[in-house]
């Protein structure tokens, strides 16, 4: 029997497949398509202290084998997330969930992290220092080792729950940023967030997105994500959750060979609401084809 279990900071998941933040809402919409308890876990929509409407529309554009989004962290604010979304989630999802923490200041990160960490449903904090779609926060923190470490330290100070920092790929040296987060107390790293991109409407001669630029994700970015996971996972001792363009069980295996302990699936959930269920169903077949008995053993299999 194929053993698909993986362990993230002491919590064992049935499988490494985790829908990525911002592409799975708070799970509700997917419950219409399948029982989401088959998932390893999922990362819920990026949450801030105050409610946010996000950016003006259009917020979505298509690209070759991918998409741009400039949602800009629309969310009802951490208190509403706790009182409504997480309360509702508890009625149909029975596993620890990953909380995607956002902020526009170090204090806000710490505040939101502390509030979410106290919820018993929350298994891990995923601190997003890499959102390219908001100004004066988000990605800015993830572009340099010092600021990424500062956020890590501040959040570390308020919680003992497993702390994962989600890194931006829009940098010259992601390894130095990953190391700085590790040194500042991160229990793990998530990569990659979206690549900053753009499309222009030939008719109007204006950027397609109201926000002008947006974050690129989907299969197009997979090779960049894989390379970064390969580099970072060899340079740190903490687990890496790999993501960026994962769309099939083969991609999951490839990410894990590159060094990922678990794998997130983002944009693919949007084009196929059953993507994660299908990937989970396919995993044992793919493992058999490539002679894998115990999935967790292949993490880093491609390191030299």
């Amino acid at each position: 029997m194929a053993d698909t279990r993986v362990t993230l900071s002491g919590i064992t998941l049935d499988n490494p497949v985790i829908p990525a933040s911002g592409t799975f809402g708070f799970g509700q919409e997917f419950q219409d398509y399948y029982d989401i308890n088959v998932l390893g876990t999922f990362s819920f929509k990026g949450t801030t202290r105050e409610p946010r409407l996000g950016n003006p529309t259009p917020r979505i554009a298509e690209t070759a084998c991918g998409m741009l989004n400039a949602v800009g962290l629309q969310n009802p604010g951490v208190e509403h997330v706790i009182s409504h979304e997480l309360a509702e989630l508890a009625t149909f999802f029975h596993k620890p969930v990953m909380a995607n923490v956002n902020g526009f200041s170090i204090e806000e990160y710490a505040y939101v992290a502390q509030r979410l960490a106290r919820q018993p449903q929350v298994g891990w904090l995923e601190v997003n220092v890499s959102c390219p779609n908001v100004h004066g926060g988000g990605m800015a923190f993830g572009l340099a080792p010092e600021s990424a470490a500062a956020v890590t330290r501040a959040v570390r100070a308020v919680t003992d729950k497993p702390l994962y920092i989600k890194l931006s790929p829009n940098v010259t040296d992601i390894v130095s940023i990953a190391r700085a987060c590790e040194d500042a107390g991160a229990d793990g790293l998530c990569l990659i967030n979206t690549l900053l991109g753009m499309r222009i409407d030939l008719r109007t001669r204006k950027p397609l997105l109201a926000n002008r630029t947006g974050g690129l994700s989907g299969p197009a970015v997979f090779p960049v994500a894989l390379r970064m996971v390969y580099q970072v996972s060899q340079a740190v001792r903490v687990p890496v959750i790999g993501m960026g363009g994962v769309a099939s069980a083969c991609d999951v295996v490839e990410m894990m060979l590159a060094g990922a302990t678990a794998v997130q699936v983002g944009a693919q959930n949007l084009v196929n609401p059953c993507a994660c269920r299908e990937i989970i169903e396919d995993l044992p077949r793919v493992m058999e084809r490539y002679n894998i008995q115990t999935l967790r053993d292949i993490t880093g299999g491609a390191w030299k």
């Binding site: 509700q28 919409e29 259009p58 298509e62 084998c65 998409m67 989004n69 949007l270 084009v271």
Partner: protein, 257 residues
């Protein structure tokens, strides 16, 4: 959900009709839409349903206009091809839960361009409910007029307006509505945003309610990505989930007066 293309043929130089066979049971209301996966494109394309027969082996018809690479490629999909679609998306036009809509005896359907198709399924539904709808359909020019005969075959009053006057009343639909003899009762409308704005203002001036079907760029089409959220009087609404149909009162073009 898999569908088989039964028909894919041009109605005008740029507008096509595609009929798909498959499980349509998720379609509950006119004005709901589908997200169609086109081979070679990453995101799905949203299209309103013109009309459908609800069954496990049912049928649904889309009427679409070629505006970009996806819809151009769509015209080349052969009969017999299999396409994946998410069906029954969005709230659709509501003909029963909203008191004003349920009470309207002679609602007016106002469509512009490829906003016209979903009003056909709606018209059939209203007739079934015993209401007496009328339709005003607007186009740029005579060559672009579609579905006029379909509405006429339902035995309702149909007014066509063209911007250049080459068919029917000359001018925009909202202007054409002003020329109608019958008093305005309730409005259902779908079309380009300038048209929706004009109709919204008109409803405001006349003090009648209505439902407006919106378009927005979509990531998912089923409420997961927040890609399509628009601000309304009652907060952010996902056009794909709490829309595409919004009622007059919640739209942020405050023009009642």
């Amino acid at each position: 959900m898999k569908f088989t293309v039964q028909e894919n043929k041009p109605l005008t130089a740029t507008v096509y009709r595609m009929t798909l066979r498959g499980d349509t049971r998720a379609l509950l209301r006119p004005g709901q839409f589908v997200q169609l996966q086109l081979p070679g494109f990453y995101l799905r394309r949203p299209f309103s349903v013109y009309d459908w027969s609800p069954a496990e082996r049912g049928c649904m018809t889309l009427v679409y206009k070629t505006v970009g690479r996806g819809t151009e490629a769509m015209t080349r999909i052969p009969v017999g091809a299999t396409l994946d679609a998410l069906v029954g998306l969005g709230n659709g036009f509501i003909t029963d839960d909203i008191p004003a809509a349920a009470a309207a005896r002679a609602p007016l359907l106002i469509g512009g361009g490829v906003g016209v198709p979903p009003l056909y399924g709606l018209c059939r539904r209203l007739l079934l409910q015993g209401q007496r709808p009328a339709a005003v359909l607007g186009f740029n020019t005579r060559e672009e007029v579609i579905l006029r005969a379909d509405f006429e075959a339902l035995g309702i009053p149909v007014t066509v307006a063209t911007v250049d006057g080459s068919e029917g009343v000359k001018g925009f639909v909202a202007d054409a509505v002003e020329t109608l003899a019958a008093p305005l009762d309730y409005v259902y409308t779908c079309g380009p945003e300038p048209m929706l704005r004009a109709v919204h203002a008109l409803c405001g001036r006349k003090g009648v309610g209505g439902q407006f079907s919106f378009e927005e760029r979509m990531g998912c089409g089923f409420g997961a990505c927040m890609g399509c959220t628009c601000e309304t009087v009652t907060g952010g609404k996902r056009i794909c989930k709490e829309g595409p149909v919004l009622v007059w009162e919640e739209i942020l073009w405050q023009t009642r007066g």
